[in-house]
Amino acid sequence: MSDRPIIEIRGLRKVYRVGKVEVPALRGVDLDVPPGEFLAIVGPSGSGKSTLFHIVGGLTPPSSGTVRVQDQDVAAMTDAGRTNLRKTCVSFVFQKFNLLPNLSARDNIAIARHIAGLNHDPDPKFEEVLALLGIANRLDHKPAALSGGEQQRVAIARAIVTHPAILLADEPTGNLDSENSRVVLGVLRDLNERLGQTILMITHNPEAAAFAHRTVHMRDGRIVD
């Protein structure tokens, strides 16, 4: 693992305003993630785990603090800058899979490449990845015709097809039975070990966290250990 962290967070705060009420979601987070790490984040509901991902992944700006992702200053980014971060640098895998329901699995994957502007380059390694994910023969089905485990593996394929520097998986096994959870977690570990994919994964499940190299705990908007 290289010396310089791929994610560098200092004093990160996020306050949501709901009407006149201010909801502090993050109250000063410090975190370094070296490239190639598989990091698990655990913590009680409402502790700010998803909010942290949303900021690192450029879905929402921080209120204060510094966040550097691949040497880019996320706090200083405009809306267009964050769009570009999502497009080129960071990919999400969600608890609810979030596939586009009207497109086949293949097209769900293709549209991610299209949005990233990569659809013209051939991607020989990708077939290998599909085999690794075990969904090669399910690609022509629409999400509704796939099991939860299959949908989540398609979502993982969609996330990594653009070769993001960082994969953010927010409770990727939260909607899966233990059998499918193990498959998905195995896939994430393989991606990390074989391709060196940096992965941050939120989970409530200690068994799932055990797949990662390191686990950090969050509580009340802070990292507690």
Partner: protein, 366 residues
């Protein structure tokens, strides 16, 4: 890939897509039918004007190409004009309108036949009794009458003496004196047709006539038919009416797409959030919405064009004489352009609101 996404989205809600396309098609059909009717009626008038066989039309002062009301000319004028050495034949006619598109022609059978080469009778023959009427075939067919049947026109019952091939001046013919007494214009006529010894003399004769009769409307048949355009009908009223229809077309296309896409954007909030999480820009989101609207607008235009053929068939079957509709392909791109402008504007608001969605809120949308 964007197009594929758009098509899949359209396919996913087939009823909504089809209904939108259908609603967009309606104003396209209306515009094309209105234009087709205008052009068809004018072309039909021109055809019948040429069918008279005259080289020159002499009309009273103050008349226009498309409106000829009353009978201010003395019948004697026919003889006077016939004296011109270049005039081979002269015929008068009295005009009695029965609707905005149809009029009764009161003719002197002998002089009209000399001018036009004579009627071709498909049924029956010329006038024999004072209340005999001659109809052309489309008019007879529209009113479902044959030679020997009765027909009510101008509050009077006539006997159909003959049914003739169409294309000469009018759909309905009565003897001139009958129309004159009917309209209280004894000895008066509405216009005079002149046939020359040689059509090459048309220009010279018109110049000569204009000198002696400066206030009269004197046309060569070529000039007369060339003036039968949409812009000349009712002092531009028809043109204005077509413009109004075109504006209504834009507004309907706009409103249909606004509602349809607005609904679609609400239903797809979560999908918009997904696209944004994948790095789709505002422009990408806006573009997919615009393309979807344009695809619907394009299909609506095509469907509207197809419907206009159906409308034409219906009109020509129901009203072969009083309405004549042309298919005017030159207006297809106009109707299409108008529709696409409407739908693009209509998709703008839903498109922009989709593009501006907050990705986190959109992803949390159930």
């Amino acid at each position: 890939m964007t197009v594929k996404l758009v098509l899949e989205n359209l396919k996913h809600r087939p009823v909504r897509s089809a209904l939108s396309v259908f609603l967009i098609a309606i104003p396209v059909t209306l515009i094309l039918t209105l234009v087709g009717l205008s052009e068809g009626l004018l072309a039909d008038s021109a055809r019948r004007a040429r069918g008279v066989g005259a080289d020159i039309w002499v009309r009273p002062p103050g008349s226009s190409v498309l409106t000829l009301s009353g009978a201010p000319l003395p019948e004697k004028m026919v003889e006077v004009l016939a004296r011109n050495p270049h005039v081979a034949a002269a015929a008068g006619m009295i005009n009695h309108p029965i609707s905005s598109t149809t009029f009764v022609a009161g003719i002197d059978m002998d002089s009209f036949n000399r001018m036009s080469g004579g009627f071709k009778y498909l049924e029956g023959g010329p006038f024999r009794k004072p209340d005999d009427v001659i109809l052309d075939q489309p008019y007879a067919r529209q009113n479902k009458v044959h030679a020997g049947d009765k027909i009510n026109l101008l509050n009077h019952e006539w006997t159909v003496a003959g049914v003739v091939e169409p294309g000469k001046l009018s759909h309905i013919f009565l003897p001139m004196p009958v129309v004159q007494s009917l309209s209280g214009n004894t000895g008066k006529i509405s216009q005079i047709f002149l046939k020359l010894d040689d059509p090459a003399n048309t220009g010279a004769v018109i110049r000569e006539l204009k000198e002696t009769m400066p206030d009269y409307q004197i046309y060569s048949v070529a000039e007369f038919t060339s003036l039968l355009t949409v812009n000349n009908v009712q002092g531009g009223m028809l043109r204005n009416f077509i413009n109004v229809m075109v504006s209504i077309g834009v507004v309907i296309g706009f409103a249909v797409v606004l509602l349809s896409m607005y609904m679609a954007v609400l239903q797809r909030t979560r999908e918009i959030g997904i696209l944004k999480s994948l790095g789709a820009s505002r422009w990408f989101i806006l573009r997919t919405i615009l393309i979807e609207a344009i695809v619907m607008g394009f299909c609506g235009t095509i469907l509207g064009i197809l419907f206009s053929f159906g409308a034409r068939w219906l009109i020509m079957t129901l009203y072969p004489a009083s309405l004549s509709e042309a298919i005017v392909p030159a207006w297809w791109p106009i109707a299409g352009g108008v529709t696409l402008a409407g739908v693009t504007l209509g998709a703008m608001y839903p498109g922009l609101s989709a593009a501006r969605q907050d990705p986190i809120e959109a992803l949390a949308y159930e």
